[in-house]
């Protein structure tokens, strides 16, 4: 596929107007993840109520793919339970490692389906996963913190 096709309208729209961007209170855990090869960083906060995700907020620097992917992710997971979110993460990760050979379920993955094209560019897969893996880490820590209360 062409690189222009990779940069789907959906991706560019999320990149230009990021959803749920900025760091907010309250939150159960905050993590920082880095892509060492380029220095891209994301700081991510997750707020829970029981195992339900009440907010995901973030700040950071990154390319269009990592920024848009993080934005799309927040749309998908806010309001869901942590297990539901992790299940989406599993689907998304599988799609990103498919090198374009994945038929995404648009009902489930919504705007994230736009990233199937990115999976054909191995160097960018890490970008697309940066926000998701930060979320996974933060959610796990927030859950653990909940458990202790």
């Amino acid at each position: 596929m062409s690189v222009e096709a990779m940069y789907q309208e959906i991706i560019l729209d999320h990149y230009k107007a990021k959803h749920h961007s900025g760091l907010r209170e309250p939150f159960g855990a905050e993590v920082t993840h880095v892509n060492p090869s380029c220095g891209d960083e994301v700081v991510m906060r997750v707020a829970l109520d029981g195992d339900r995700i009440t907010d995901v907020s973030y700040s950071g620097v990154g390319c269009s793919i990592s920024q848009a992917s993080t934005s799309v992710m927040t749309d998908l997971v806010i309001g869901k339970t942590v297990p539901e979110a992790l299940s989406l993460l599993a689907d998304f990760t599988e799609m990103m490692h498919s090198q374009g050979r994945y038929e995404p379920d648009e009902e489930r993955l919504e705007d994230a389906v736009a990233f199937v094209g990115v999976s054909q560019f191995p160097a960018r897969v890490k970008c697309a996963l940066l926000g998701w893996s930060a979320f996974k880490d933060a959610a796990a820590q927030a859950l653990a913190a909940e458990g202790q209360e």
Binding site: V3, E4, Y7, C38, C63, S64
Partner: protein
């Protein structure tokens, strides 16, 4: 087409098989030579011929093949020595890359350091000339101190002087000859003189200098100099640490093993003289052969002709690229004490900075290979107040047409992300 000086870049390109490659359905425009250079057929063929007809282990193998392999390997060492103006081949240590060479320096010089001693490097160093010294400082209690840079991307010598950066506590100064991000050519000989005045050892990271400038170690005034084969038309898997012989002879061993010993006993071992003391195990034999062929090739073209081409194409590129709307050059903007690594940031018409990954990706779709990221120089990027940059880097085979393709590509990128699609 030969230019007026007879430098025939088209003919040179014929020598590099990969330059004929297509990326998708467009021709490759390779502008990432500061990351790794491409290889002429002469180098590839030399490695090939070595394995097909002369492969054997060196030194320890004394049969005919062993003799041939040893002569080829030690012959390559002599070529490197001559190329950099070393006093002799015994001053040339083969390592796996420039990073190992710098670690060798940091471990062996580190064995002399004590708490309170100072090591001086600069914020424009490559990680390979930072982390080994951070680790050495951790091991020994020595203090790591830094040259800052000026706003136009040169070492801030005035500030260093005001801070008394190099002083009687300084034991090691390690500076890059040429910045891999800014292209800045540093006044290493002056700094070496300062280092020597306080009795410090001067290490020069010449990874970006040797391929282009025809470095002579004598002129650098350094005690140890590191560089790497793959950036100077040679293969991967080989680097060099040059050292003044009397300093090398004074340094303890680093890696232990076969070939670096004199006598091994249960109760302890004695070590070979340099360079073999620092070459444990089977060395990069075919890689040395390839590096020797690369040096032959560079000599054939003439390193001064390459330097001149580099100067001209850099001047052309600086003008051409600086004219791209929204583009901001990092480092010196004029082609004076400036080599062909050109880094920049790019913004859309509405002032949004475009991420280097996105720039790189769109350029790649046009066959243009540049690098986006922090180029293993995160402290420098932090100092510049940015996370990452895009870098185009030029070499002996780069044409003005390629620079034009880059400039056009950058305009396209800015428009694409600016919404003009």
């Amino acid at each position: 087409m030969p230019d007026t000086t007879g430098y025939d870049v088209a003919a040179i390109r014929e020598d590099f098989p990969i330059l004929a490659r297509q990326i998708g359905d467009v021709p490759l425009v390779y502008l990432d030579s500061a990351n790794t250079s491409q290889k002429p057929a002469a180098v590839i063929d030399a490695i090939d011929a070595h394995y097909r007809a002369h492969n054997a282990n060196v030194a320890r193998a004394m049969h005919t093949l062993g003799g041939e392999a040893t002569a080829a390997f030690e012959g390559a060492r002599a070529k490197v020595a001559a190329f950099i103006g070393a006093a002799g081949p015994e001053e040339v240590v083969f390592t796996k890359n420039a990073s190992e060479a710098l670690n060798l320096a940091a471990y062996t010089l580190g064995s002399r350091l004590q708490p309170g001693d100072e090591i001086v490097i600069s914020v424009m160093e490559h990680h390979s000339n930072i982390v080994p010294w951070q680790l050495a400082a951790e091991r020994t209690g020595a203090v790591l101190r830094w040259f800052d840079i000026t706003d136009d991307g040169r070492l801030d010598l005035a500030k260093a002087e005001a801070e008394n950066l190099i002083n009687e506590r300084t034991k090691v100064v390690s500076i890059t000859a040429v910045s891999n991000v800014l292209g800045t050519v540093n006044p290493v000989a002056d700094i070496a003189a300062q280092a020597h005045a306080v009795g410090a050892v001067m290490v020069v990271d010449a990874a970006q200098a040797v391929p282009y400038a025809g470095v002579k170690v004598e002129a650098l005034g350094a005690d140890l100099v590191s560089f790497t084969g793959h950036k100077m038309l040679g293969p991967t898997g080989i680097g060099v640490l040059w050292g003044r012989y009397d300093l090398l002879a004074d340094l303890p061993p680093f890696l232990g093993g076969g070939e670096m010993i004199n006598v091994v006993k249960l109760t302890g071992s004695t070590y070979a003289t340099p360079p073999h003391r620092f070459e444990a195990g089977t060395p990069p034999i075919a890689e040395a052969v390839g590096l020797g062929a690369a040096i032959d090739y560079l000599n054939e073209i003439g390193i001064e002709n390459i330097a001149l081409h580099e100067e001209r194409i850099t001047a052309y590129a600086l003008t051409r690229i600086a004219a791209v709307p929204g583009l901001k050059l990092l480092g010196p903007t004029r082609p004076v004490d400036r080599s062909g690594a050109i880094s920049f940031t790019l913004s859309t018409a509405d002032g949004e900075e475009i991420h280097p990954h996105d720039i790189m990706q769109l350029l790649d779709s046009r066959g243009i290979a540049v690098r986006g990221g922090h180029h293993c120089a995160r402290p420098l990027h932090e100092r510049l107040g940015i996370v990452a940059s895009t870098r185009a880097s030029l070499y002996l085979y780069t044409t003005t047409a390629e620079v034009d393709a880059l400039a056009d590509g950058l305009v396209y990128v800015a428009n694409f992300f600016g919404g003009k699609r």
